[in-house]
Structures are given as structure tokens and as C-alpha cells.
Amino acid sequence: MDQFLQLIVAGLATGAIYALAAIGFTLVWQTSQTINFAQGEFVMLPAILVLTAAHLGLPMGLAFIVGSAAFVLLFGFGFKRFLVEPMQRHGVLPLAIATMALSVLIKEAAKNGFSAEAQPFPSLVPEGSVSVLGAAVSVRDIAIFVVAIAAILGLQAFITHTRTGRTMQATAQNPTVARILGVPVERMILLTFLINAALALIASYLISPVYLAKFSNGETIGLAAFIAAIVGGFNQIRGALAGGFLIGLIDNLAAAYVSSAYRTAVPLVVLVVVILVKPEGLLGRKEERTV
């Protein structure tokens, strides 16, 4: 029982990271109807930028600020302005392929420009363990879960309870009508990309002390988050959230009770089952399009 409880907590912590990245998939999908295949690299990169700033001689606190600002500028504003906007007019597929190219570019740039080796990354949350229902549970797991949930709840509150958030929703649901009603659609889309960058930033700072900062981290996280977004429902934030936690839990339970060798296969099996049974995802909304 102790082991099961510990695995659940560890799974929720992993799932929280997947959820943050999966919500990024959802946000980009809602605003540009495409899949950002560089989402995993978006989670990998902020930690690398912070370490690069630190290696250039900045104190760690300042390195966090500079790395964060550089990331949001490049991969919030820059991603939309210089990749999504020019490619979107050519259709969804070219844009999706462009994000694949971006993924390779980021990974190779991190490898060649920084290091091919893993690097330690300072933890922003405490270590150690506490007793929960008699089982020793990692404080860091709890902290990751709490921070990620706080970020997601904050996003949800912003979207549903503020005028800007509701305008963003309107833009996502029907940009043409929103534009007719006077909504600054371009600004709302930019805001969405900035939020995506901020969520990736949080995920990066939470997970890099555990995974260690390395150019290849995005592969694991990107795939898991992609599966989570599809399983939960690609067009709903709550779906991405649920999918993230579900995949995180399955990942950890599979590693413990099936085998580490098959831990990545089990979520894929779940994905296949969901696609067969409920193609729109567990909490997704059915979309119909005119052909």
C-alpha cells in the first residue's frame, strides 16, 4: 500500500509536468489549428538558457531572469511572429512540418551550442520526504504537483474570469466572428503563445533538477505530452490536464508493476484504445468541419 501511494504521488508529479506541456499543445491547436511538434524542446530549452547565462558569468538569480526573458521573447513572440504567421497561410501541414524542423533545430543548437552532456540544474523546490498516510512521500514530488496545479488553476481563472481571458476564448472558438466584433485577434493569439511559453518555462524549471538539463529531454516530455493531449482531448485545456495526470500515473505504475522497458509502450496502448473508443479524447469536444 505504501508503495502504491508513493507511486501515485510520483505519478501525479510527473503528470503535472506532462499536463503543463500538453496544455501548450492545446493552446497552439486552439489558436492556429496546428500541432507544435517542438513542444518538448520548449520544455527542455529554458533550463539550458539559464545555465548558458550562468556559464557566461551571471549570478544564478539573474541567469534565471535573463534565460526566462530570452525564452519567452524567442519562443513566445518569435515563434508566433517568425514561424507560425508566415507558415499558417500555407496551411496546417506545412506549419506542422515547420515545427518539426524547429524541434530538430532547437535540439541540435542546444547540443552544439551548449553541451551534449547532462548538466545539474538548481532545484527551486525543497528535497526530503514527509509522511503521508504512513508512507514516506517525496517533498519535491508534492511541490512539483502543487506548483503545476497552481499554474494551471491560475490559467483557468484567467481564461474564465477575466475579460482578456474570455476574449481569448472567443478568438479560439471563432476568430472570424471575434474579429467582426472588434476583438484584437492577433493580440489575443500572441497572448496565447506567450502563455504557452510561460507554461513551458515552469515545466522546465520544475523537471530539470530531476531529469538533469540535457538537449534530448524534450523527446521524452514532448511524446508523453502529445499522447496526454490526445488522450485527454486536444481541444480542451481540462482534457490536456486530465490526460497529463493520467499518462503520468500510467507511466509510473507501468514502470513499477510492468517493466521499465515497456513504460513508454503502455501509454501508447492507452492512446490507441482512446482513439478507437472516443476519438475526441476523454474530455474533448467533437469538432465538425465542412468539406
Binding site: A10, V210, L212, T220, A255
Partner: protein, 378 residues
């Protein structure tokens, strides 16, 4: 017909006498510069570069300057095979590397067929048991290390049960298959037998399993990055039992990556710059001064691999691959004869090495040598 045979013989002789006429002797290093093996490969590369610079500054080998070329194996068997084939095609006198046992096993037939000596950094038991006369180690065979570790677990740790965590590649599986029988022979129960994956990032579930196995000690046999991630996860999950391992658990890179989580880890290492051997300490200082960080055992292996080429080539007095391979089988190179070898080393008839080794503990982020273990067959 006679002409063709003579022409072939001339061509063969030209190949075997290598590029001495050009004024250089070519060594090609096929090494892990990216992928999970990058920490190990980077250390090896630096060590070999350092040795080449020193040897060339003193006039080279038999009057020839060494030309050392590095090819990235990407820690990938396919890429390693391609790089080793390229090294053979480019007329390497000796191929150095790789370190990871899987890529070694996948590529060593190429050098064997071409009769090119290959000096590798791998520890898996299997590849020196296949009758290949051209493969040579720079580190102890894991089959020789495991009895020493099993004795340590029984006699020093007093463990009655051990949880075994290993990486599911040739290196890890070889270590696991060597260790478990040694534990059982000594009456030590295997409380958990946990396989993990190469490149695995999340070790929380494995650490939780280890913790709940409630063994007296944990034996960890993973590659460097995975070792660091496991140690961090073990600390996070509150594992307090002794964590014991081999060289890849106690290396400088693991200590750097794991931080405080490495403190208290104990085990057996074949080579380290903090060993009570002046030549190893001196090497450690030179390496740190040049590269700005502490060499792990792979840096020492890369360095000694080049000095092995120098010592044996000078011993045979020519650049002849077949004579080199014959001379290295059963050879012993002492520091007194060749200071660059750093520690007295013997090669067996199968290409394994025999040398002293060390029991160490990580204290305040530094490896502290607790005991020096003798050669198996001095």
C-alpha cells in the same frame, strides 16, 4: 598468377606498415561524443588528446608524429559500425574506443576482419570471450570486478539482502549476470532485481521499488547519467540504505550531476585520479588544468590507450598491426618503464587487463580511497 600474388603481398605489406612513410602514424578514435555516452566519451577524448600532445611534443612514436582523429559514435551501434568501418578504410594503425559495450560488440568484427587492433573502454564481460585477437581493454572486465564487490557487500557492508538496479544494455546486463551469481554464492539474497532503460530520465518508480524491497544494501549498475538520476531519485524518495556500485556510479561526472545525493555512495573503481598513486594524481592535475574539470576513469582510459600504443609499438620497434596485437597479448607495462601508463597493467591472452583497483566512498563530494585491492594474478 605469380605477379598477382606478389602485387597482393606488396599491397598487404604497404597496408600493414601503415602511414609511417608519410611521417605520421594515424590513430582513429571512435567515441561517444553525443547520446547517453557523451560524458564518458568526452572524458576519453580529452584524455587521448592530452596523451597525443605530450607524445608528439617529445618526438612522437618511433620518430613519427601521431595523427589522432575523433569520430562520434553517437552511443549508437549502427553509427559506431559505420565509424569503425571508416577508420579501417582510412588506414588507422590502431582504432581507439568506443566505451559502451553494445557498440563495441556491434563493431569489433570489423577491426577483427581487417586485422586492426582496437583498444576499447568497455567493461562487459562478453566481448573478450569471443576469440577476437584484436580487441583489448583499458579497464577491468566486469566479471573480475564483481567478486571483489560481492566480498565487499558480505564482509564490509554485512548485507544479507541486496536490491540490484541495472541498466538494460550490454554493459548493465553483463554486470547484472555476473553479480547475481556472486551474491548467491555468498549467501546474499537478491531482494529486488530492477531493470532500467538507457537514457531513462525518471527513476522515481525504480527508487520507490528499491525502497520497498527493504534490502540491506542497494547495488547500482547504470551508466553515468542514469546513475546520477537514480541517486537523485533515491535521495528524493528517502532511501537510507548503503548504495554500492562500480566505477560508473562513483565517477567525477556522477558526483557533479548528483550533487549531495552522491555523498555516502561506496564501491569499487578500477581507475581514479584520487587514487594513492602519484602518476594518477599527476595526470588528474594536468587534465584539470587543461580542461577545467576533473577527469573520470574514462579520461584515464583514453590517456592510457594512447600510451599503450606507444609502449607496445616501441617494444616491437615498428608499426605492424599483427605484431602489435601479438605483443599486447600477455604484455605487462609498468609505470617505471612507461610513466604514461599511470598504473602497472597486464593484458591477458584474451585482451582483458589486470591491475590494482580501489574501494572508495564519496565524502563531501570527493572520492576517498578506503582500500587498495591487488591484481588478480600479479
Amino acid at each position: 598468377m605469380l605477379f598477382k600474388t606478389m602485387a597482393a603481398a606488396v599491397a598487404l605489406t604497404a597496408t600493414m606498415t601503415v602511414s609511417a612513410l608519410a611521417g605520421t602514424v594515424k590513430l582513429i578514435d571512435v567515441i561517444e561524443l553525443s547520446g547517453p555516452g557523451a560524458p564518458a566519451g568526452t572524458n576519453w577524448k580529452n584524455g587521448s588528446d592530452l596523451a597525443v600532445a605530450e607524445i608528439n611534443a617529445k618526438g612522437g612514436i618511433l620518430g613519427q608524429q601521431i595523427e589522432l582523429i575523433h569520430y562520434d559514435s553517437q552511443t549508437n551501434p549502427g553509427a559506431t559500425r559505420a565509424a569503425v568501418q571508416r577508420a579501417v578504410d582510412e588506414d588507422a594503425y590502431v582504432v581507439l574506443g568506443p566505451i559502451f559495450s553494445g557498440p563495441i560488440s556491434a563493431s569489433m568484427q570489423i577491426t577483427q576482419r581487417a586485422a586492426v587492433p582496437q583498444i576499447v573502454g568497455g567493461e562487459a564481460a562478453a566481448f573478450t570471450r569471443q576469440g577476437n585477437n584484436y580487441i583489448f581493454r583499458t579497464s577491468l572486465n566486469q566479471a573480475d570486478s564483481m567478486p571483489k564487490l560481492a566480498n565487499y557487500l558480505r564482509d564490509e557492508v554485512k548485507a544479507k539482502s541486496v536490491a540490484v538496479v541495472w541498466i538494460n544494455n550490454d554493459f548493465g546486463k553483463g554486470g547484472r549476470d555476473s553479480m547475481i551469481p556472486e551474491l548467491q554464492k555468498r549467501g546474499i539474497q537478491v531482494a529486488a532485481d530492477i531493470a532500467t532503460e538507457s537514457g531513462q530520465a525518471d527513476f522515481a518508480a525504480d527508487a520507490i521499488k528499491v525502497k520497498n524491497a527493504n534490502a540491506d544494501a542497494v547495488f547500482v549498475y547504470l551508466n553515468e547519467e542514469e546513475s546520477a538520476r537514480f541517486l537523485r531519485a533515491a535521495r528524493q524518495q528517502g532511501i537510507t540504505k548503503p548504495i554500492i556500485g562500480e566505477t560508473t556510479l562513483l565517477g567525477a561526472k556522477v558526483i557533479e550531476l548528483a550533487g549531495e545525493a552522491a555523498n555516502g555512495v561506496k564501491g569499487h573503481v578500477g581507475l581514479l585520479v584520487d587514487a594513492p598513486k602519484p602518476s594518477l594524481v599527476e595526470f588528474g592535475k594536468k587534465y584539470a588544468a587543461k580542461y577545467g574539470f576533473t577527469s573520470d576513469h574514462n579520461g584515464i582510459k583514453g590517456y592510457t590507450a594512447v600510451y599503450t600504443v606507444k609502449a607496445i609499438s616501441e617494444r616491437i620497434g615498428k608499426f605492424d598491426r599483427e605484431a602489435f596485437a601479438k605483443a599486447l597479448h600477455g604484455a605487462r607495462i609498468d609505470v617505471a618503464q612507461e610513466p604514461g601508463i599511470l598504473i602497472d597493467t597486464k593484458w591477458t591472452a584474451t585482451g582483458d587487463v589486470d591491475r590494482e583497483s580501489f574501494l572508495i566512498e564519496i565524502v563531501n563530494g570527493k572520492p576517498v580511497v578506503k582500500a587498495t585491492l591487488p591484481m588478480i594474478n600479479p
